[in-house]
Amino acid sequence: MTGMADAAEVTHATDAEVFAALPAVLIDRDNVEHYRGLLARRLLINRCAACGYWVYPHRPLCPKCWSWDVVPTQVSGDGFVFLCTLVHQERDPDAAPGEPVSTAAVELVEQPGLRYLAPVVNCPPDRVRLDMPVRLTWVDRDGVAWPAFQPSGPIEGGR
């Protein structure tokens, strides 16, 4: 946690508060704990209590062992950039052209292939490199703190 985001932090939001804070998100009974966690600046991913497999995207059933005992569990926040694109043009045709924004699939250290989609911040977009180690931080968007990742080691020169 860097303190850079000013968004409100709620330690344990009610369902109604989660719905109100995130009006455009598909919140359902399988992922509500993840979004409740975001409001408390905790990145929670469902984990199977029976076999330890991290279940993401969020499902009620472990796809490895078919246990229903799937528990939202906080991850370390460490990972590396596995996929990244610089968005030069938004899909919204009315969006004003701006600086390219990085959107990365960050592979978390907890499990191979366990990836979370978020922007890379505190790094010039043209210095974001695949396999670069990163660490979780939080950015303010529409009054809510959202997960982002920043380099956890030295930033290398342009690619």
């Binding site: 455009a24 359902d28 399988d30 995207p57 059933l61 990244c84 694109t85 959107t103 366990l114 695949l130």
Partner: protein, 403 residues
């Protein structure tokens, strides 16, 4: 008498059901998974024996409900060669015909329903049902991603752009591999009177085109058009009595991978559904790529074509750049695979236009009939069509041939 060749050929071997209730406080997916796991356990099957899935709904891209894309991953089923969504009584029939046809051997059909907000006052007061209804798209399922601030990568360009970067990074290729695909397809389109884009382009034009989602550029992307395509399929016996020389469906395969819903969590480059589809085709086809005259790889984005070329076995993973460079005809501005096979002779989706790949089928049929005059490929007898072969949803591989 109507034909009934499947008489006594099929059986139901497992069933599973959930409790019914007015408010079970569960997602549609959760109910679907309970029924599905129960049916598999009832049948005494290893879940990996399931190689076909019919999920719930009418939209193959449906996400957030219990469509096949979600079910396969949620159930941990590694590979399927037939997938569909359906509803009402017809989904049973689709599944049966898939088994009868040989497209799969063991099919799981899953249907789940939940009480919608229009069905009762108490349902309308449930914030979970309300949110689902607000973000529900045509087709009966909720589409997540576009409206989600988390910006999950679904079936759209951004993750393909990211995979282009990963491909270049992992295999040390340059963007010339994508440029050659764009130029080849445009060159073929210049002779196709139906094509939307008929002005020739060069490699330099490709590299100079506008960047959209780095490293993807404008000329990596197909051309949205208004168009119509149709074809008719009948039995081979009947076809032989009709006007044109028959074009036979020699073999077909679909493909589904365990992770196939969100691109950020996708499996490796050689593990996605496209590769399963083409492996499934090889297992069903007496013809190989060595016999191939025409190849129609999907080209919604140029990276799709790279995947099709490698998954079809023209080269090893990561070697497409060398393959296209060695097969490049600088005079004609096209490439051939294996020194012979012509690719995307209509111009593909990149230059003929985006028809979901259906224009690949009609072009292949015309070329195999030999009716294309000045643009006819001499002696074309075999064609492999990979239409709509995205990384995950509906990557169909179809081998067509003439006598």
């Amino acid at each position: 008498m109507a034909r009934n060749p499947l008489k006594d050929q099929l059986a139901v071997v497992g069933v599973g059901s959930t409790p019914y209730g007015r408010d079970l406080k569960r997602t549609e997916l959760s109910l679907a998974l309970e029924a599905a796991t129960a049916a598999v356990e009832d049948a005494g099957l290893d879940r990996q024996e399931i190689d076909g899935i019919c999920g719930t709904g009418m939209d193959p891209l449906a996400m957030g409900g219990s469509g096949f894309l979600t079910l396969q991953g949620a159930l941990g089923i590694e590979k399927t060669t037939w997938q569909k969504n359906g509803w009402l009584g017809s989904c049973f029939v689709y599944a049966a015909e898939a088994v009868f046809s040989g497209l799969c051997d063991t099919v799981l059909v899953v249907q789940a329903y939940t009480r919608g907000i229009g069905m009762s006052r108490s349902a309308a007061a449930d914030p979970f049902r309300l949110r689902s209804a607000q973000l529900r798209a045509a087709g009966g399922h909720t589409i997540v991603g576009q409206s989600d601030p988390a910006r999950r990568w679904i079936h759209s360009g951004e993750p393909y752009a990211a995979w282009m970067a990963r491909y270049l990074h992992d295999y040390g290729a340059t963007k010339d591999v994508f440029a050659r695909i764009a130029v080849n397809n445009r060159t073929h389109a210049t002779t196709n009177p139906r094509a939307a884009m008929r002005t020739p382009i060069t490699m330099e034009d490709y590299h100079a085109s506008r960047v959209i989602w780095e490293p993807m550029q404008m000329l990596d992307m197909d051309v949205p058009v208004d168009c119509g395509e149709a074809l008719i399929i009948t039995t081979a016996e009947r076809a032989r009595d009709l006007r044109h020389s028959p074009v036979y469906i020699h073999a077909m395969s679909l493909g589904g991978s365990r992770v196939g819903e969100y691109y950020d969590n996708s499996l490796g480059w050689t593990e996605n559904a496209l590769w399963i589809s083409l492996a499934g085709l090889r297992e069903r086809s007496d013809l190989t790529i060595d016999d191939l005259d025409l190849f129609f790889p999907y080209d919604g984005y140029t990276i799709d074509t790279v995947g099709c070329i490698e998954a079809a076995g023209f080269c090893k993973p990561g070697e497409t750049a060398d393959l296209l460079a060695s097969g490049w005809d600088a005079e004609a501005n096209i490439y051939r695979l294996g020194g012979h096979t012509l690719v995307s002779t209509n111009g593909g989706a990149l230059s003929h236009g985006r028809a979901g790949g259906f224009n690949f089928y009609t072009e292949a049929v015309r070329q195999l009939r030999g009716t294309e005059g000045e643009r006819q490929v001499p002696d074309a007898r075999t064609a492999l069509v990979c239409a709509g072969a995205s990384f995950f949803h509906d990557p169909a591989s179809v081998m067509l041939r003439t006598d």
